[in-house]
Protein backbone atom coordinates (compact mmCIF):
# COMPACT_ATOMS: atom_id res chain seq x y z
CA UNK A 1 0.00 0.00 0.00
CA UNK A 2 1.31 3.40 -0.89
CA UNK A 3 1.08 6.37 1.40
CA UNK A 4 -0.83 9.27 -0.09
CA UNK A 5 1.59 11.83 -1.51
CA UNK A 6 1.93 14.95 0.59
CA UNK A 7 1.72 18.37 -0.97
CA UNK A 8 4.78 20.58 -0.66
CA UNK A 9 3.15 22.53 2.17
CA UNK A 10 2.33 19.25 3.89
CA UNK A 11 5.90 18.00 3.54
CA UNK A 12 7.25 21.20 5.04
CA UNK A 13 4.87 20.97 7.99
CA UNK A 14 5.92 17.33 8.42
CA UNK A 15 9.56 18.45 8.60
CA UNK A 16 8.68 20.99 11.30
CA UNK A 17 6.71 18.39 13.29
CA UNK A 18 9.52 15.82 12.95
CA UNK A 19 12.07 18.38 14.11
CA UNK A 20 10.00 19.26 17.17
CA UNK A 21 9.37 15.60 18.07
CA UNK A 22 13.04 14.74 17.57
CA UNK A 23 14.28 17.56 19.78
CA UNK A 24 11.91 16.78 22.64
CA UNK A 25 12.40 13.00 22.39
CA UNK A 26 16.17 13.43 22.68
CA UNK A 27 15.85 15.87 25.56
CA UNK A 28 13.56 13.43 27.36
CA UNK A 29 15.98 10.52 26.76
CA UNK A 30 18.86 12.56 28.16
CA UNK A 31 16.81 13.48 31.18
CA UNK A 32 15.90 9.84 31.74
CA UNK A 33 19.62 8.99 31.70
CA UNK A 34 20.94 11.53 34.14
CA UNK A 35 17.95 13.23 35.64
CA UNK A 36 19.29 16.69 34.79
CA UNK A 37 16.20 17.73 32.88
CA UNK A 38 12.99 18.52 34.65
CA UNK A 39 9.57 18.68 33.11
CA UNK A 40 9.50 22.40 33.88
CA UNK A 41 12.71 22.87 31.91
CA UNK A 42 11.22 21.14 28.86
CA UNK A 43 8.11 23.26 29.06
CA UNK A 44 10.25 26.37 29.38
CA UNK A 45 12.12 25.36 26.22
CA UNK A 46 8.84 24.87 24.34
CA UNK A 47 7.57 28.22 25.57
CA UNK A 48 10.74 30.00 24.45
CA UNK A 49 10.47 28.31 21.04
CA UNK A 50 6.88 29.47 20.62
CA UNK A 51 7.63 33.05 21.68
CA UNK A 52 10.67 33.36 19.44
CA UNK A 53 8.76 31.90 16.51
CA UNK A 54 6.37 34.81 16.98
CA UNK A 55 9.20 37.36 17.17
CA UNK A 56 10.89 35.88 14.09
CA UNK A 57 7.60 35.94 12.21
CA UNK A 58 7.79 39.74 12.07
CA UNK A 59 11.14 39.42 10.29
CA UNK A 60 9.74 36.79 7.91
CA UNK A 61 7.10 39.30 6.93
CA UNK A 62 9.46 42.27 6.61
CA UNK A 63 12.46 40.51 5.08
CA UNK A 64 11.08 37.32 3.51
CA UNK A 65 8.12 39.04 1.91
CA UNK A 66 9.19 42.64 1.40
CA UNK A 67 13.01 42.46 1.49
CA UNK A 68 13.24 44.99 4.33
CA UNK A 69 16.24 44.66 6.65
CA UNK A 70 15.23 45.49 10.22
CA UNK A 71 18.08 45.16 12.72
CA UNK A 72 16.10 46.78 15.52
CA UNK A 73 13.27 44.30 15.81
CA UNK A 74 13.62 44.02 19.59
CA UNK A 75 12.83 47.74 19.92
CA UNK A 76 9.26 47.04 18.81
CA UNK A 77 9.06 44.21 21.36
CA UNK A 78 10.20 46.64 24.05
CA UNK A 79 7.42 49.06 23.08
CA UNK A 80 4.90 46.21 23.38
CA UNK A 81 6.13 45.15 26.80
CA UNK A 82 6.40 48.69 28.17
CA UNK A 83 2.96 49.53 26.81
CA UNK A 84 1.56 46.95 29.19
CA UNK A 85 3.97 47.99 31.95
CA UNK A 86 3.13 51.68 31.71
CA UNK A 87 -0.57 50.95 31.82
CA UNK A 88 0.01 49.13 35.09
CA UNK A 89 2.19 51.87 36.60
CA UNK A 90 -0.45 54.47 35.76
CA UNK A 91 -3.41 52.40 36.84
CA UNK A 92 -4.97 52.02 33.36
CA UNK A 93 -6.89 48.87 32.44
CA UNK A 94 -4.99 46.01 30.78
CA UNK A 95 -6.57 46.43 27.36
CA UNK A 96 -5.39 50.05 27.30
CA UNK A 97 -1.87 48.70 27.86
CA UNK A 98 -2.22 46.19 25.02
CA UNK A 99 -3.54 48.90 22.70
CA UNK A 100 -0.75 51.27 23.77
CA UNK A 101 1.88 48.61 23.07
CA UNK A 102 0.51 47.63 19.65
CA UNK A 103 -0.21 51.17 18.46
CA UNK A 104 3.09 52.40 19.87
CA UNK A 105 5.05 49.74 17.95
CA UNK A 106 3.18 50.51 14.72
CA UNK A 107 3.69 54.25 15.21
CA UNK A 108 7.41 53.74 15.83
CA UNK A 109 7.68 51.68 12.62
CA UNK A 110 5.98 54.46 10.66
CA UNK A 111 8.22 57.12 12.19
CA UNK A 112 11.34 55.11 11.28
CA UNK A 113 9.99 54.11 7.87
CA UNK A 114 8.96 57.49 6.48
CA UNK A 115 12.46 58.97 6.18
CA UNK A 116 14.33 55.72 5.43
CA UNK A 117 12.11 53.70 3.10
CA UNK A 118 12.50 56.19 0.28
CA UNK A 119 16.23 55.53 0.37
CA UNK A 120 18.13 52.30 -0.28
CA UNK A 121 17.39 49.49 2.18
CA UNK A 122 20.75 49.80 3.98
CA UNK A 123 19.53 52.96 5.66
CA UNK A 124 16.60 51.15 7.17
CA UNK A 125 18.97 48.61 8.76
CA UNK A 126 21.09 51.36 10.28
CA UNK A 127 18.14 53.43 11.45
CA UNK A 128 16.29 50.52 13.05
CA UNK A 129 19.28 49.34 15.10
CA UNK A 130 19.73 52.91 16.34
CA UNK A 131 16.08 53.38 17.21
CA UNK A 132 15.91 50.09 19.13
CA UNK A 133 18.88 51.17 21.23
CA UNK A 134 17.26 54.55 21.84
CA UNK A 135 14.10 52.80 23.09
CA UNK A 136 16.14 50.57 25.42
CA UNK A 137 18.22 53.48 26.70
CA UNK A 138 15.10 55.51 27.46
CA UNK A 139 13.62 52.53 29.30
CA UNK A 140 16.84 52.21 31.27
CA UNK A 141 17.42 55.84 32.19
CA UNK A 142 13.96 57.38 32.58
CA UNK A 143 13.37 55.80 35.96
CA UNK A 144 10.38 58.04 36.74
CA UNK A 145 8.58 56.61 33.70
CA UNK A 146 9.65 52.99 33.44
CA UNK A 147 11.35 52.27 36.77
CA UNK A 148 14.53 51.87 34.72
CA UNK A 149 16.82 49.01 35.79
CA UNK A 150 14.54 48.15 38.73
CA UNK A 151 12.02 46.79 36.25
CA UNK A 152 8.30 46.12 36.45
CA UNK A 153 7.34 42.82 38.02
CA UNK A 154 3.65 43.16 38.40
CA UNK A 155 1.23 44.22 35.73
CA UNK A 156 -2.41 43.81 35.00
CA UNK A 157 -2.65 41.39 32.08
CA UNK A 158 -5.53 39.00 32.64
CA UNK A 159 -4.65 35.48 33.67
CA UNK A 160 -1.18 36.41 34.75
CA UNK A 161 -1.57 34.56 38.02
CA UNK A 162 -2.55 31.55 35.98
CA UNK A 163 0.46 32.00 33.69
CA UNK A 164 2.92 32.29 36.56
CA UNK A 165 1.31 29.46 38.49
CA UNK A 166 3.43 27.03 36.52
CA UNK A 167 5.25 26.85 33.19
CA UNK A 168 2.64 24.51 31.74
CA UNK A 169 0.00 27.17 32.11
CA UNK A 170 2.11 29.77 30.32
CA UNK A 171 2.94 27.34 27.51
CA UNK A 172 -0.68 26.38 27.04
CA UNK A 173 -1.71 30.03 26.94
CA UNK A 174 1.07 31.07 24.56
CA UNK A 175 0.28 28.19 22.24
CA UNK A 176 -3.25 29.53 22.26
CA UNK A 177 -2.03 32.84 20.81
CA UNK A 178 1.03 32.04 18.74
CA UNK A 179 -0.48 29.85 15.97
CA UNK A 180 -2.96 32.51 14.87
CA UNK A 181 -0.23 34.92 13.89
CA UNK A 182 1.43 32.75 11.22
CA UNK A 183 -2.01 31.95 9.86
CA UNK A 184 -2.85 35.63 9.63
CA UNK A 185 0.45 36.42 7.97
CA UNK A 186 0.10 33.49 5.56
CA UNK A 187 -3.28 34.83 4.45
CA UNK A 188 -1.67 38.20 3.73
CA UNK A 189 1.33 36.67 1.96
CA UNK A 190 -0.96 34.86 -0.48
CA UNK A 191 -3.13 37.88 -1.15
CA UNK A 192 -2.60 40.37 -3.97
CA UNK A 193 -1.07 42.63 -1.29
CA UNK A 194 1.60 39.97 -0.68
CA UNK A 195 2.16 39.66 -4.42
CA UNK A 196 2.94 43.37 -4.70
CA UNK A 197 5.43 43.05 -1.83
CA UNK A 198 7.18 40.10 -3.45
CA UNK A 199 7.43 42.15 -6.63
CA UNK A 200 8.95 45.06 -4.69
CA UNK A 201 11.43 42.69 -3.02
CA UNK A 202 12.62 41.63 -6.45
CA UNK A 203 12.57 44.87 -8.37
CA UNK A 204 11.09 48.07 -7.04
CA UNK A 205 11.23 49.81 -10.42
CA UNK A 206 9.07 47.13 -12.01
CA UNK A 207 6.48 47.42 -9.25
CA UNK A 208 6.44 51.19 -9.84
CA UNK A 209 6.16 50.76 -13.59
CA UNK A 210 2.97 48.73 -13.17
CA UNK A 211 1.36 51.36 -10.97
CA UNK A 212 2.20 50.26 -7.42
CA UNK A 213 3.64 52.85 -5.04
CA UNK A 214 6.59 50.95 -3.50
CA UNK A 215 6.92 53.34 -0.56
CA UNK A 216 3.36 52.80 0.58
CA UNK A 217 3.61 49.02 0.50
CA UNK A 218 7.01 48.92 2.23
CA UNK A 219 5.74 51.17 5.01
CA UNK A 220 2.74 48.88 5.52
CA UNK A 221 4.99 45.80 5.70
CA UNK A 222 7.32 47.47 8.20
CA UNK A 223 4.42 48.56 10.41
CA UNK A 224 2.70 45.20 10.21
CA UNK A 225 5.92 43.34 11.06
CA UNK A 226 6.16 45.38 14.26
CA UNK A 227 2.90 43.82 15.52
CA UNK A 228 4.21 40.26 16.19
CA UNK A 229 7.28 41.83 17.84
CA UNK A 230 5.06 43.85 20.18
CA UNK A 231 2.98 40.73 20.91
CA UNK A 232 6.19 38.85 21.71
CA UNK A 233 7.15 41.60 24.18
CA UNK A 234 3.77 41.41 25.91
CA UNK A 235 3.65 37.61 26.03
CA UNK A 236 7.22 37.40 27.28
CA UNK A 237 6.44 39.87 30.05
CA UNK A 238 3.28 37.96 30.82
CA UNK A 239 4.85 34.48 30.92
CA UNK A 240 8.03 35.42 32.81
CA UNK A 241 6.41 38.17 34.91
CA UNK A 242 9.09 40.78 34.37
CA UNK A 243 9.81 43.82 32.21
CA UNK A 244 13.42 45.00 32.43
CA UNK A 245 15.52 46.85 29.82
CA UNK A 246 18.06 43.98 29.73
CA UNK A 247 15.46 41.81 27.94
CA UNK A 248 15.63 44.12 24.95
CA UNK A 249 19.33 44.13 24.03
CA UNK A 250 20.34 43.99 20.31
CA UNK A 251 21.50 40.36 20.72
CA UNK A 252 17.87 39.23 20.86
CA UNK A 253 17.22 40.80 17.44
CA UNK A 254 20.08 38.73 16.05
CA UNK A 255 18.71 35.57 17.69
CA UNK A 256 15.52 36.26 15.74
CA UNK A 257 17.53 36.82 12.54
CA UNK A 258 19.43 33.56 13.09
CA UNK A 259 16.09 31.81 13.53
CA UNK A 260 14.60 33.04 10.26
CA UNK A 261 17.81 32.36 8.34
CA UNK A 262 18.18 28.82 9.77
CA UNK A 263 14.50 28.04 9.31
CA UNK A 264 14.07 29.66 5.90
CA UNK A 265 12.95 33.20 5.15
CA UNK A 266 10.70 32.44 2.22
CA UNK A 267 8.13 30.36 4.06
CA UNK A 268 6.38 31.40 7.22
CA UNK A 269 6.87 28.02 8.88
CA UNK A 270 10.58 28.77 8.58
CA UNK A 271 10.25 30.92 11.71
CA UNK A 272 8.86 27.94 13.60
CA UNK A 273 11.43 25.46 12.28
CA UNK A 274 14.27 27.89 12.99
CA UNK A 275 13.07 28.57 16.51
CA UNK A 276 12.86 24.83 17.28
CA UNK A 277 16.37 24.21 15.91
CA UNK A 278 17.89 27.25 17.63
CA UNK A 279 16.43 26.73 21.10
CA UNK A 280 16.68 22.96 20.76
CA UNK A 281 20.44 23.25 20.28
CA UNK A 282 20.72 25.70 23.16
CA UNK A 283 18.81 23.28 25.38
CA UNK A 284 21.06 20.37 24.36
CA UNK A 285 24.13 22.37 25.24
CA UNK A 286 22.64 23.07 28.63
CA UNK A 287 21.68 19.51 29.49
CA UNK A 288 24.67 17.66 28.07
CA UNK A 289 26.48 17.62 31.34
CA UNK A 290 29.91 16.09 31.46
CA UNK A 291 28.67 12.89 33.08
CA UNK A 292 26.43 12.11 30.11
CA UNK A 293 29.49 11.72 27.93
CA UNK A 294 31.08 8.55 29.30
CA UNK A 295 34.70 8.75 28.20
CA UNK A 296 35.75 12.33 28.55
CA UNK A 297 38.82 13.47 30.38
CA UNK A 298 41.93 15.56 30.12
CA UNK A 299 41.92 18.54 27.77
CA UNK A 300 38.73 17.39 26.04
CA UNK A 301 36.89 17.82 29.30
CA UNK A 302 37.50 21.53 29.40
CA UNK A 303 36.42 21.89 25.77
CA UNK A 304 33.17 20.04 26.37
CA UNK A 305 32.71 22.00 29.57
CA UNK A 306 33.13 25.28 27.70
CA UNK A 307 30.62 24.33 25.01
CA UNK A 308 27.94 23.12 27.41
CA UNK A 309 27.96 25.98 29.90
CA UNK A 310 25.68 28.94 29.23
CA UNK A 311 27.52 31.88 27.70
CA UNK A 312 30.09 32.18 24.93
CA UNK A 313 30.38 28.42 24.38
CA UNK A 314 26.69 28.12 23.59
CA UNK A 315 26.80 31.05 21.26
CA UNK A 316 29.70 29.36 19.51
CA UNK A 317 27.49 26.30 18.98
CA UNK A 318 24.75 28.52 17.53
CA UNK A 319 27.36 29.99 15.18
CA UNK A 320 28.38 26.50 14.06
CA UNK A 321 24.72 25.63 13.44
CA UNK A 322 24.30 28.74 11.32
CA UNK A 323 27.43 27.98 9.28
CA UNK A 324 26.41 24.35 8.72
CA UNK A 325 22.93 25.34 7.57
CA UNK A 326 24.32 28.00 5.25
CA UNK A 327 26.79 25.53 3.73
CA UNK A 328 24.43 22.63 3.23
CA UNK A 329 20.99 24.18 3.07
CA UNK A 330 21.30 27.86 2.20
CA UNK A 331 17.53 28.15 1.74
CA UNK A 332 17.01 27.15 5.41
CA UNK A 333 15.34 24.06 6.87
CA UNK A 334 12.02 24.59 5.11
CA UNK A 335 12.95 27.40 2.71
CA UNK A 336 12.54 27.21 -1.04
CA UNK A 337 15.73 26.77 -2.96
CA UNK A 338 14.46 28.07 -6.30
CA UNK A 339 13.59 31.38 -4.69
CA UNK A 340 17.29 31.86 -3.99
CA UNK A 341 18.55 30.61 -7.32
CA UNK A 342 17.44 33.27 -9.75
CA UNK A 343 19.55 36.39 -9.61
CA UNK A 344 18.56 39.62 -11.27
Amino acid sequence: MKLPALSRDGREWAVVAALASGVFLLLTLISARNGSVSGEFLVGVALTMALFALLALGLSLQFGLAGLINFGHIGFAAIGAYGVGLAHLNGWPWFAGVALGLLGAVALAIVVGIPTLRLREDYLAIATIGVAEIVRTIALSEVWLTRGPFGIYSFPLPGRDFATSGPWAALAASLGVVPYSPFFVAVLARSPWGRVLRAIREDEDVAGAVGKNPFRFKLQALALGAVPAALYGMLYAWAFAQIIPALFVPLVTFYAWTIVVVGGVTTLRGALAGSIAFWGLTAFARVLRLETIPVVGGPLESVVGFLTRPGPGQELLIGVLLVLVMLHRPQGIVGRREELRFGR
Binding site: F184, V187, L188, S191, P192, W193, G194, R195, V196, R198, A199, E202, D203, D205, V206, A207, G208, A209, V210, G211, K212, N213, P214, Q220, L224, E338, E339, R341, F342, G343, R344
Partner: protein, 256 residues
Amino acid sequence: MAAEAILEAKGLRKAFGGAVAVADMDVAVAPGEIVGLIGPNGAGKTTLFNLVAGALEPDGGRVTLAGEDVTGLPAHALAKRGLARTFQLSRALNRMSVLDNVALAAPDQPGERLAVAITPFWRKREEAVEDRAREVLDFVGLSAKLDDYAGSLSGGQKKLLEIARALMLEPKVLLLDEPMAGVNPTLAKGIMERIRAIRDERGAAILIVEHDIESIMANSDRVIVMAEGTTLAAGDPETVRNDPRVIEAYLGGREP
Protein backbone atom coordinates in the same frame (compact mmCIF):
# COMPACT_ATOMS: atom_id res chain seq x y z
CA MET B 1 0.28 62.74 -37.54
CA ALA B 2 -3.25 61.56 -38.07
CA ALA B 3 -5.07 61.95 -34.78
CA GLU B 4 -4.39 64.26 -31.88
CA ALA B 5 -1.40 63.25 -29.75
CA ILE B 6 -2.18 61.53 -26.45
CA LEU B 7 1.40 61.72 -25.20
CA GLU B 8 3.26 64.92 -25.78
CA ALA B 9 6.65 66.04 -24.51
CA LYS B 10 7.92 69.54 -25.23
CA GLY B 11 11.38 70.98 -24.69
CA LEU B 12 12.55 68.18 -22.39
CA ARG B 13 15.97 68.69 -20.83
CA LYS B 14 18.07 66.55 -18.53
CA ALA B 15 21.73 66.83 -17.54
CA PHE B 16 23.78 64.52 -15.32
CA GLY B 17 26.33 66.78 -13.70
CA GLY B 18 27.91 68.56 -16.65
CA ALA B 19 26.85 66.01 -19.27
CA VAL B 20 23.71 67.02 -21.10
CA ALA B 21 21.88 63.79 -21.98
CA VAL B 22 18.71 65.33 -23.38
CA ALA B 23 19.04 68.90 -24.64
CA ASP B 24 15.72 69.98 -26.10
CA MET B 25 13.43 67.21 -27.24
CA ASP B 26 9.89 67.22 -28.54
CA VAL B 27 8.00 63.94 -28.88
CA ALA B 28 4.36 63.34 -29.67
CA VAL B 29 2.52 60.06 -30.12
CA ALA B 30 -1.11 59.67 -31.22
CA PRO B 31 -3.46 56.73 -30.54
CA GLY B 32 -3.08 53.98 -33.12
CA GLU B 33 0.38 54.90 -34.29
CA ILE B 34 3.83 53.45 -33.81
CA VAL B 35 6.60 56.00 -33.48
CA GLY B 36 10.14 54.68 -33.76
CA LEU B 37 12.91 56.44 -31.87
CA ILE B 38 16.37 55.70 -33.20
CA GLY B 39 19.78 57.24 -32.88
CA PRO B 40 23.42 56.36 -32.30
CA ASN B 41 24.62 55.08 -28.92
CA GLY B 42 24.64 57.84 -26.34
CA ALA B 43 22.09 59.94 -28.20
CA GLY B 44 19.92 60.10 -25.06
CA LYS B 45 17.14 57.74 -26.12
CA THR B 46 16.88 55.82 -22.86
CA THR B 47 17.15 59.02 -20.80
CA LEU B 48 14.30 60.52 -22.83
CA PHE B 49 12.34 57.35 -22.16
CA ASN B 50 12.94 57.55 -18.45
CA LEU B 51 11.90 61.21 -18.41
CA VAL B 52 8.62 60.44 -20.13
CA ALA B 53 7.93 57.33 -17.99
CA GLY B 54 8.57 59.10 -14.69
CA ALA B 55 11.73 57.19 -13.77
CA LEU B 56 13.71 60.45 -13.96
CA GLU B 57 12.61 63.99 -13.30
CA PRO B 58 13.34 66.45 -16.13
CA ASP B 59 15.36 69.64 -15.56
CA GLY B 60 13.05 71.46 -17.92
CA GLY B 61 10.18 70.97 -20.32
CA ARG B 62 6.68 69.56 -20.04
CA VAL B 63 5.06 66.16 -20.47
CA THR B 64 1.33 65.89 -21.04
CA LEU B 65 -0.70 62.68 -21.04
CA ALA B 66 -4.22 62.89 -22.47
CA GLY B 67 -4.08 66.65 -22.07
CA GLU B 68 -3.06 66.52 -18.41
CA ASP B 69 0.29 67.90 -17.24
CA VAL B 70 2.17 64.93 -15.77
CA THR B 71 5.69 66.42 -15.69
CA GLY B 72 7.75 64.94 -12.86
CA LEU B 73 5.09 62.52 -11.62
CA PRO B 74 6.52 59.22 -10.31
CA ALA B 75 6.29 56.08 -12.45
CA HIS B 76 3.49 54.50 -10.43
CA ALA B 77 1.28 57.57 -10.83
CA LEU B 78 1.83 57.57 -14.61
CA ALA B 79 1.08 53.85 -14.82
CA LYS B 80 -2.26 54.50 -13.13
CA ARG B 81 -3.00 57.14 -15.78
CA GLY B 82 -2.49 54.62 -18.58
CA LEU B 83 1.18 54.81 -19.47
CA ALA B 84 3.03 51.48 -19.51
CA ARG B 85 6.67 50.80 -20.23
CA THR B 86 9.12 47.96 -20.69
CA PHE B 87 12.79 48.06 -19.74
CA GLN B 88 15.87 47.89 -21.95
CA LEU B 89 17.35 44.98 -19.99
CA SER B 90 14.36 42.77 -19.39
CA ARG B 91 13.27 42.82 -15.81
CA ALA B 92 11.11 39.81 -15.25
CA LEU B 93 10.35 39.14 -11.59
CA ASN B 94 12.32 35.91 -11.69
CA ARG B 95 11.16 34.34 -8.45
CA MET B 96 7.48 34.77 -9.24
CA SER B 97 5.45 32.67 -11.63
CA VAL B 98 4.81 33.92 -15.15
CA LEU B 99 1.12 34.26 -14.34
CA ASP B 100 1.86 36.28 -11.16
CA ASN B 101 4.23 38.54 -13.10
CA VAL B 102 1.33 39.57 -15.30
CA ALA B 103 -1.51 39.43 -12.75
CA LEU B 104 0.55 41.81 -10.60
CA ALA B 105 -0.03 44.60 -13.10
CA ALA B 106 -3.83 44.45 -12.84
CA PRO B 107 -4.92 48.02 -12.10
CA ASP B 108 -8.15 47.10 -10.32
CA GLN B 109 -7.39 44.47 -7.65
CA PRO B 110 -8.82 45.72 -4.34
CA GLY B 111 -6.94 42.92 -2.52
CA GLU B 112 -3.85 45.08 -2.76
CA ARG B 113 -5.29 47.17 0.05
CA LEU B 114 -4.29 45.77 3.42
CA ALA B 115 -7.79 45.98 4.84
CA VAL B 116 -9.22 43.94 1.96
CA ALA B 117 -6.27 41.52 1.76
CA ILE B 118 -7.14 39.95 5.13
CA THR B 119 -10.69 39.22 3.98
CA PRO B 120 -11.67 36.71 1.28
CA PHE B 121 -13.46 39.40 -0.73
CA TRP B 122 -10.68 39.85 -3.28
CA ARG B 123 -10.86 36.25 -4.48
CA LYS B 124 -13.69 36.75 -6.93
CA ARG B 125 -11.89 39.66 -8.56
CA GLU B 126 -8.71 37.60 -8.64
CA GLU B 127 -10.42 35.04 -10.87
CA ALA B 128 -11.19 37.79 -13.36
CA VAL B 129 -7.65 39.17 -13.03
CA GLU B 130 -6.13 35.75 -13.72
CA ASP B 131 -8.44 35.17 -16.66
CA ARG B 132 -7.29 38.43 -18.18
CA ALA B 133 -3.64 37.61 -17.42
CA ARG B 134 -4.08 34.29 -19.24
CA GLU B 135 -5.65 36.09 -22.17
CA VAL B 136 -2.76 38.55 -22.39
CA LEU B 137 -0.16 35.78 -22.05
CA ASP B 138 -1.95 33.87 -24.79
CA PHE B 139 -1.77 37.01 -26.95
CA VAL B 140 2.04 37.13 -26.63
CA GLY B 141 2.33 33.36 -27.01
CA LEU B 142 3.40 32.41 -23.50
CA SER B 143 0.35 30.41 -22.42
CA ALA B 144 2.41 27.21 -22.09
CA LYS B 145 4.55 28.81 -19.37
CA LEU B 146 1.90 30.09 -16.95
CA ASP B 147 3.09 28.27 -13.85
CA ASP B 148 6.85 28.38 -14.51
CA TYR B 149 9.08 30.69 -12.53
CA ALA B 150 9.79 33.69 -14.75
CA GLY B 151 13.50 33.13 -14.07
CA SER B 152 13.36 30.00 -16.21
CA LEU B 153 12.28 31.87 -19.37
CA SER B 154 14.68 32.64 -22.25
CA GLY B 155 15.74 36.21 -22.98
CA GLY B 156 13.21 36.59 -25.76
CA GLN B 157 10.41 35.11 -23.70
CA LYS B 158 11.20 37.58 -20.93
CA LYS B 159 10.79 40.43 -23.44
CA LEU B 160 7.37 39.01 -24.34
CA LEU B 161 6.52 38.67 -20.65
CA GLU B 162 7.32 42.36 -20.14
CA ILE B 163 5.04 43.28 -23.02
CA ALA B 164 2.29 41.13 -21.52
CA ARG B 165 2.78 42.81 -18.15
CA ALA B 166 2.52 46.23 -19.76
CA LEU B 167 -0.63 45.20 -21.66
CA MET B 168 -2.26 44.07 -18.43
CA LEU B 169 -2.40 47.77 -17.48
CA GLU B 170 -4.62 48.32 -20.54
CA PRO B 171 -2.36 51.20 -21.47
CA LYS B 172 -3.29 54.11 -23.68
CA VAL B 173 0.42 54.71 -24.23
CA LEU B 174 3.04 51.98 -24.47
CA LEU B 175 6.76 52.77 -24.25
CA LEU B 176 8.99 49.92 -25.44
CA ASP B 177 12.73 50.20 -24.76
CA GLU B 178 14.55 47.93 -27.23
CA PRO B 179 11.92 45.19 -27.24
CA MET B 180 13.93 43.08 -29.66
CA ALA B 181 17.47 43.52 -28.34
CA GLY B 182 19.25 40.21 -27.82
CA VAL B 183 16.36 38.19 -29.21
CA ASN B 184 16.78 35.65 -32.00
CA PRO B 185 15.49 36.87 -35.40
CA THR B 186 12.49 34.55 -35.52
CA LEU B 187 11.23 35.61 -32.12
CA ALA B 188 12.05 39.27 -32.89
CA LYS B 189 9.75 39.03 -35.90
CA GLY B 190 7.05 37.58 -33.65
CA ILE B 191 7.49 40.39 -31.13
CA MET B 192 7.18 43.05 -33.85
CA GLU B 193 4.05 41.39 -35.14
CA ARG B 194 2.53 41.50 -31.62
CA ILE B 195 3.42 45.17 -31.32
CA ARG B 196 1.60 45.94 -34.58
CA ALA B 197 -1.37 43.96 -33.30
CA ILE B 198 -1.42 46.06 -30.12
CA ARG B 199 -1.63 49.16 -32.28
CA ASP B 200 -4.31 47.79 -34.59
CA GLU B 201 -6.49 45.89 -32.12
CA ARG B 202 -6.16 48.08 -29.04
CA GLY B 203 -5.50 51.45 -30.63
CA ALA B 204 -2.62 52.16 -28.26
CA ALA B 205 -0.07 54.89 -28.90
CA ILE B 206 3.33 53.17 -29.09
CA LEU B 207 6.80 54.64 -28.81
CA ILE B 208 9.66 52.22 -29.55
CA VAL B 209 13.37 52.70 -29.00
CA GLU B 210 15.23 50.19 -31.11
CA HIS B 211 18.66 49.57 -32.59
CA ASP B 212 17.41 47.39 -35.41
CA ILE B 213 16.88 50.18 -37.97
CA GLU B 214 15.47 47.94 -40.68
CA SER B 215 12.74 46.66 -38.41
CA ILE B 216 11.91 50.19 -37.18
CA MET B 217 11.72 51.57 -40.72
CA ALA B 218 9.49 48.70 -41.82
CA ASN B 219 7.04 48.93 -38.93
CA SER B 220 6.82 52.52 -37.72
CA ASP B 221 4.30 55.07 -38.89
CA ARG B 222 6.76 57.84 -38.04
CA VAL B 223 10.43 57.85 -37.11
CA ILE B 224 12.32 60.28 -34.90
CA VAL B 225 16.11 60.28 -35.14
CA MET B 226 17.86 61.51 -32.03
CA ALA B 227 21.47 62.61 -31.79
CA GLU B 228 23.30 64.35 -28.97
CA GLY B 229 20.18 64.86 -26.95
CA THR B 230 18.02 66.48 -29.58
CA THR B 231 15.98 65.75 -32.71
CA LEU B 232 18.11 65.27 -35.80
CA ALA B 233 15.30 64.36 -38.14
CA ALA B 234 11.66 63.32 -37.93
CA GLY B 235 9.03 62.19 -40.38
CA ASP B 236 7.80 59.12 -42.21
CA PRO B 237 10.32 56.30 -42.57
CA GLU B 238 11.08 56.94 -46.25
CA THR B 239 11.89 60.63 -45.73
CA VAL B 240 14.05 59.92 -42.72
CA ARG B 241 15.91 57.12 -44.45
CA ASN B 242 17.00 59.47 -47.23
CA ASP B 243 17.87 62.40 -45.00
CA PRO B 244 21.58 63.16 -45.52
CA ARG B 245 22.03 64.18 -41.86
CA VAL B 246 20.77 60.77 -40.75
CA ILE B 247 23.07 58.94 -43.13
CA GLU B 248 25.93 61.04 -41.84
CA ALA B 249 25.10 60.42 -38.18
CA TYR B 250 24.98 56.69 -38.69
CA LEU B 251 27.68 56.14 -41.25
CA GLY B 252 30.11 59.00 -41.34
CA GLY B 253 30.17 60.74 -38.00
CA ARG B 254 30.09 64.52 -37.98
CA GLU B 255 32.63 66.96 -39.30
CA PRO B 256 34.65 68.58 -36.52
